[in-house]
């Protein structure tokens, strides 16, 4: 067996290749991006013909994956936690159709919001959809759970949710590889109505899903990923999952924990095991990274009975990522700490790269808006969101991908005219296009600035679905051609750009300004590879 040093994300990717997937579908999003990138770079994946192009957004990715599952082949769809909101409709309904070929949905949560606008916990989505959820606590489990998840998915004919968090996604450790499995052949669903959710059929399918619930729980009780560790001292019982289990072990020498521990890696919650630890111990402590899902389900509504400690009673902080020290304090152990950070050490927030095109774009926009009152720039998610910070302070909103155009439209409807939307190229094709159609049908007096740097910058420069298509999309949606203008965000073009933006701000309808200049990072990367290729030729 081959031993590899892999990020949690890479372990999942290798696990998926080895489990015989025929395709991966994804839209980039920290901390899930490296899964797809690993497969895109993998020679084995190429030899095996695994498809791995980026999707336009998480919903299209989820639906494409469901289509592959329909044919009987195995597939994984990957996204960050907020991507699951975008894909929620097919996700919930895929539980009702069920799967045919193995289908894993990977959602990467970001407790402490290292790179996200919230820290929602995907396990709740799994519970809502009533499907099995797997949660690894280390890289090896991440690798193993992919194979296990595909088998479970095919055996139960159900999509399986695999939940990871940032720390595991971006932490490296040794992983033992297993044999590789051949890909499935096409084999359409035995029940030809399985995927037709007309109400008469959906009602039946929903009952099928409900009937499967008992089986899911039995599987949880039997699962090797749910482990019960007996111990002498029953004054406390600990239920834990994911990385919290590691933080717990870190606090005891030789990793010997004096209390009984239930480690959960597969949901639905194995109730018999929970019953046992509740009965055996005087008090329970629940350690989980993310929202208090286990704690809530174990407390029940009324919280009668034994003391249950966790995030809800203040034994652990209600928000943010756990770490060994937080866990130590909850166990009544010593908190360790070195010297304090000197007061003169200041924060170093992320900023736009030197020479970033967004900087020139916003300098021009700021100047063009000088004659209006402030608070009119509705923006979106990407590197350009950093323009909210000093020194630019250009934008007033950032909520979810695509919200810039539609929020500007709503504000213009309310009388805030002109209203500006500032959106990146990848975000535009992710979910800005439909909003633009609304604005056109509504003849909204908004100015849409598309910051076209020809890539998905924020997540590391993945190919943008918008590449080479923005003008034709805008024309197709009905923007008047004379109000589609292409500008180059460069300091020597500054005055021109300011004038052009000013003119469009005055136009009483939808105008689109495309500010086009390549991201410095991808440009440099391209130049380096070109340079290398040249050297090789010589």
């Amino acid at each position: 067996m081959q031993r590899m040093l892999l990020l949690g994300d890479e372990a999942i990717a290798q696990g998926a290749i080895d489990a015989g997937i025929s395709g991966i579908y994804a839209y980039p999003g920290t901390p899930s991006t490296e899964i797809t990138e690993f497969i895109q770079k993998s020679k084995e994946a190429k030899v095996r013909g695994i498809r791995s192009e980026w999707s336009a957004n998480e919903k299209t990715a989820m639906e494409s994956a469901l289509g592959m599952s329909y044919t009987g082949k195995r597939t994984i769809v990957c996204m960050k936690h907020v991507g699951l909101n975008v894909a929620a409709d097919p996700f919930i309904n895929a539980a009702i159709t069920g799967a045919n070929g193995g289908l894993i949905i990977l959602s990467a949560d970001d407790p402490s919001m290292h790179s996200s606008q919230n820290e929602q916990d995907s396990r709740f989505f799994g519970d809502f959809a009533m499907i099995p959820v797997l949660e690894p606590s280390n890289q090896q489990e991440a690798y193993d759970m992919v194979r296990y998840g595909f088998d479970l998915s095919e055996e139960q004919k159900i999509p399986v949710l695999l939940r990871i968090t940032t720390r595991l996604a971006h932490s490296r450790s040794g992983v033992l590889r297993r044999d590789t499995k051949e890909q499935n052949q096409i084999r359409l669903p035995e029940n030809p109505a399985q995927f037709i959710l007309l109400p008469v059929i959906a009602r039946k399918q929903y009952k099928v899903l409900l009937e499967k619930q008992n089986g899911f729980e039995k599987q949880s009780e039997r699962s090797g990923f749910n482990q019960y560790f007996e111990a002498e001292n029953r004054s406390l019982g600990i239920i834990t999952c994911g990385l919290a289990y590691n933080y717990l072990m870190e606090n005891y020498s030789e990793h010997e924990i004096p209390y009984p521990v239930l480690k959960i890696g597969q949901y639905p919650v194995p109730t018999k095991m929970v019953d046992k630890i509740y009965t055996d111990c005087d008090e329970l402590l629940i350690l989980e990274d993310g929202y208090p899902l286990l704690e809530k389900s174990i407390r029940g509504f009324l919280n009668k009975g034994k003391k249950i400690r966790g995030r809800l009673d203040g034994s652990l902080p209600r928000d943010g990522e756990l770490n060994p020290n937080i866990v130590a304090v909850s166990l009544g152990l010593d908190d360790t700490i070195g010297e304090p950070v000197p007061e003169f050490v200041v924060g170093r927030p992320p900023s736009l790269c030197n020479g970033c095109s967004h900087n020139d774009a916003f300098l021009a926009l700021n100047e063009a808006l000088n004659m209006y009152t402030r608070g009119r720039v509705f923006s979106d998610i990407g590197c350009y969101t950093l323009s909210a910070l000093k020194p630019l302070e250009s934008i007033n909103t950032c909520v979810d991908m695509g919200a810039s155009i539609t929020m500007a439209m709503g504000a213009a409807d309310a009388g805030l005219i002109p209203a500006v939307a500032a959106i990146g190229d990848s975000t535009f094709t992710h979910s800005g296009m439909t909003g633009l159609l609304d604005a056109i049908n509504n003849n909204s007096p908004i100015t849409v600035i598309i910051l076209d740097n020809a890539t998905t910058g924020m997540t590391g420069g993945q190919k943008s679905s918008a590449f080479g298509k923005i003008e034709s999309i805008c024309i197709g949606l009905g923007v008047e051609e004379e109000h589609i203008r292409i500008l180059k965000p460069l300091s020597k073009q500054h005055d021109n750009n300011v004038e052009a933006i000013k003119e469009e701000l005055e136009y009483n309808g939808v105008s689109v300004l495309i500010l086009r200049r390549e991201c410095i990072q991808t440009l440099n990367k391209r130049m380096r590879t070109k340079h290398k290729a040249k050297q090789l030729e010589i």
Partner: protein
């Protein structure tokens, strides 16, 4: 053997190459390893850190507990001080003395250096100067790696081999430059290792 290391710097300064080199040497020696990296938002010129844990026994947590790090290795002086709460009392602070100023309110450099010099166990090294001096300005992170080598409990020859492996695909001249940078850093640390 157990070494818990915090690597610190600013996005783009190459702390992940340091981590990868130590990691590769550790794996060659059959050690267990866990390394938590930072990707995403904070890579855009923000502060970045990585937790690197090596041990001959099983490692539990991906994160090092506060006050337990054996080493803080930093390619930027103010960033070194940000991780003082992580450093154990007996631990070593190894840092570059060149400030990376991309914020308007960067403190007085002298104040920063004074605080570094007040840490009981430290190596403060002008890695940028040394790297330039040997004609390889880009290798200043590897100078820092060299300066950390005496504290890693890994034979420097194993680290050199790892450098060869990691930079191998960039050509022989890059490998040689980095090996030289490594040895200059190592030499400096051995001459200035005062506790």
């Amino acid at each position: 053997m157990k070494k818990d290391i915090i690597l610190a710097g600013v996005g783009g300064q190459g702390i992940l190459s340091i981590a990868a080199t130590i990691g590769m040497a550790a794996i060659e020696l059959g050690l267990q390893l866990k390394q938590a990296e930072v990707h995403g938002m904070s890579q855009r010129g923000g502060d970045v850190q990585s937790h690197l844990r090596l041990s001959s026994k099983k490692i539990a947590s991906d994160l090092i507990p506060k006050g337990k790090a054996d080493l803080v290795i930093s390619v930027e002086p103010m960033e070194a001080l940000r991780y003082l709460p992580m450093l154990s009392k007996e631990g070593w602070l190894i840092t570059n003395t060149n400030a990376f100023v991309n914020i308007p309110d960067y403190p007085e450099l002298q104040e920063v250096l004074d605080r570094i010099n007040a840490t009981p166990n430290h190596i403060a090294i002008d890695a940028d100067y040394i790297a330039k001096d040997i004609g390889s300005a880009k290798s200043s992170n590897i100078v820092i790696l060299g300066a950390s080598a005496p504290f890693l409990d890994i034979d420097p020859r194993n680290l050199e081999n790892a450098i060869k492996n990691i930079f191998g695909n960039k050509g022989e001249s890059v490998v040689q430059a980095n090996i030289e940078a490594f040895n200059e850093g190592l030499k400096f640390a051995l001459n200035n290792k005062c506790a």
